[in-house]
């Protein structure tokens, strides 16, 4: 187990380094940052001064190593636009995004896993059709449209929930549903497919031949094996939610990382953009690592690989 863990950890670190290199280089693909920073009416001299001031005149590899070294210490530099450190801005916004993501993934899992299990127990039944309908709608509906529909009904027509902001728990209900609903179909269909396959397996027959009641058969013997791919998918989707909440955060004006990313792109605030991408990537990688560990805990065969 320990060996497996170290191996996965090593891979995770390598991936994180690769991502950081790509993130850093991407900034340069969008053009000379000094020119962008100097603005339209800047002279040649202004640009070269800015280039020197921010260190853009050094070789890229040196800039990268310098940036990486500071990033490791939690120093992402200064925001070009806001008068504060990048780290400060990010860690101010991060909890909001994490909270939103956690609410959304919880909503998605609580809805989709039971539905997927029920659909698998009774394939082609009414509940299976109902689950399929939910899945199709979820997959077909763009999240921004769904978010606006929610706002219209719950926020304006019935006035049940606040439309914008992130000051109280009620502000998170609609965004969490809008964000979470999007991943429901995938998780549900995967749960259903996994359960169907596992329920037809020999060891489920063995469990029944032992005289086990339906509930232990279902939850002890079947779900644990069927849930493995769902764990991986959920981790990836959670990572996606942290980064992909840009649209939802913007619609609901939630002061999270996604909203910050959107603002920074508009202001060409390079250090903030770089840092957001890096932070989200690291989260993504950490989640993948955690899901690998959880899977190894659930399935002993993975531990020896």
């Amino acid at each position: 187990m320990l060996q497996y863990m170290l191996k996965r950890l090593g891979v995770a670190v390598l991936v994180a380094l690769t991502v950081s290199l790509i993130t850093f280089s991407m900034i340069y693909l969008s053009g000379d940052p000094a020119i962008a920073l100097a603005g339209e009416s800047a002279t040649e001299e202004d640009i070269s001064n800015i280039r020197k001031f921010y260190g853009y005149d050094r070789p890229i590899i040196i800039q990268y190593l310098d940036w990486l070294w500071r990033a490791l210490q939690g120093d992402f530099g200064q925001s070009h636009y806001l008068k504060s450190s990048v780290a400060g801005v990010i860690f101010e916004r991060l909890p909001t995004t994490m909270l939103l993501g956690a609410c959304a993934i919880s909503f998605a899992l609580i809805l989709s896993i039971p539905l997927g299990v029920l659909a698998a127990i009774r394939p082609n039944s009414l509940i299976d059709r109902f689950a399929l309908t939910i899945a199709v709608i979820g997959q077909a509906m763009p999240s921004f449209w769904f978010a606006l529909t929610l706002m219209l009904w719950f926020g304006i027509t019935w006035r049940l929930l606040p439309i914008t902001g992130s000051s109280s728990w009620a502000n998170f209900v609609m965004p969490a549903i809008a964000l979470g609903y999007y991943v429901t179909p995938g998780v549900m269909r995967l749960t259903r497919a996994g359960m169907l396959e596992v329920l037809a397996s020999d060891y489920i027959r063995t469990a029944r031949a032992k005289g086990l009641r339906p509930m232990p058969v279902l939850f002890k013997h079947a779900l644990r094996n069927a849930i493995l791919p769902v764990v991986s998918l959920a981790a990836v989707q959670f990572g996606f939610m942290l980064g992909g909440s840009i649209v939802i955060e913007t619609i609901f004006a939630i002061n999270g990382l996604g909203f910050l990313a959107w603002e920074s792109i508009q202001r060409a605030d390079l250090p903030v953009m770089q840092a957001i991408v890096l932070v989200l990537s690291v989260f993504y990688i950490a989640l993948t690592f955690l899901s690998d560990m959880l899977n190894a805990f659930l399935d002993p065969r993975i531990r020896v690989r």
């Binding site: 397996s201 063995t206 032992k210 009641r213 013997h221 399935d299």
Partner: protein
């Protein structure tokens, strides 16, 4: 006084398939006494496994079971609901499956899976169940049993897993064990070990055993009584001696002709084969099910349902229109050839 453990009369299983109704088992009768081994022999697809699953009430949902009588320990269990059946399964009635590689749950230790079988039916503590598991693992010839409890199925070989499955079936000391081709998936050397083990345990615990197999070599070694199954029905039943010494149905004769007998079959001699394939079991069948492959087929074979005849005294029966004398003559001719 013999104690009757299982009594089955006119057991039928119909399975709904897209092409119609597949009549997998068509009115078979048999019984098993305490301490006795009944072997059900037949080729793939003849309905052996479906028979086994129907006794456990573990048939797929597309299948329906009917019977005139299905008595376990003198109790009619046909109308038992799922809850009552679950109480019997693993307690009075246990089953060993063909595929030891996939029959254990990969996510749990074998200790957990063994203990579970007992915790479900007996009011015992986990440590008592564990002691029972260790005792039985040693019984089935697994060394270092206590340490093995912490192992996962993937850490064991096929032979070991089948031993674990056997131990699991014994956890509650059942009256009847149904073993559905328990050695088919194993190496030949391991097959013999597992069979001897089953036979020994059966004697030691005085259990009844229904052994389902297509391997006549196995039958010869362990069976008290034999039922030869073909296309959903029994074509010959009797004690192992009767069936092996005086096979009376052309199908049984053909089957026995297919296996080499040490000391009797000459080196290089051709082994027999039964030409043709098993008929489809979908829809109604008339006459003898074996008629399409039988070398003695006559017009009468295709009419009505062929009744059982007595081959020799003492319950040796076969389902054929040929008289006992005619079948004996055919057997002699085949042996001479």
């Amino acid at each position: 006084m013999v104690e009757r453990i299982l009594e089955v009369e006119r057991l039928s299983v119909d399975i709904q398939v897209p092409a119609g109704t597949l009549r997998a088992v068509q009115g078979i009768n048999f019984h098993v006494d305490r301490g006795e081994t009944l072997c059900i022999v037949g080729e793939s697809g003849c309905g052996k496994s479906i028979t086994a699953l129907s006794l456990m009430n573990l048939l797929p949902s597309s299948a329906t079971r009917t019977a005139d009588k299905l008595e376990l320990d003198g109790r009619e269990i046909q109308n038992f609901d799922e809850r009552q059946m679950a109480d019997l399964r693993g307690d009075r009635l246990a089953m060993i499956f063909q595929e030891p590689m996939t029959s254990l749950n990969p996510a749990y230790t074998i200790g957990n899976q063994l203990e579970e079988a007992m915790l479900r039916h007996r009011n015992v503590s986990r440590s008592e169940a564990r002691d029972r598991a260790v005792f039985l693992l040693e019984k089935v010839g697994i060394t270092g049993a206590r340490g093995r409890l912490k192992q996962y199925p993937h850490q064991l070989s096929g032979g070991l897993r089948q031993r674990v499955m056997i131990a699991m079936s014994l956890m509650c000391g059942p009256d009847l064990i149904i073993a559905d081709e328990p050695t088919t998936a194993l190496d030949v050397t391991i097959q013999a070990q597992i069979l001897h083990l089953l036979a020994d345990l059966q004697r030691e615990f005085n259990m009844s055993l229904i052994l389902i197999t297509h391997d006549l070599g196995i039958v010869a070694r362990v069976a008290d009584r034999v039922a030869v199954m073909y296309a959903g029905e029994f074509v010959e039943t009797g004690t192992a001696d009767q069936v092996f010494n005086r096979p009376s149905h052309p199908y049984t004769q053909g089957l026995l002709n297919c296996i080499p007998i040490p000391g009797k079959t000459k080196r290089g001699a051709h082994l027999g084969a039964i030409p043709g394939i098993v008929p489809s079991l979908i829809g109604e069948m008339h006459g003898c099910h074996f008629a399409s492959r039988c070398q003695f087929v006559q017009d009468d074979c295709l009419k009505g349902k062929i009744a059982f005849r007595e081959a020799t005294k003492g319950g040796h029966q076969y389902r054929c229109i040929l008289s006992s004398a005619e079948s004996a003559r055919n057997l002699k001719k085949a042996n001479a050839a």
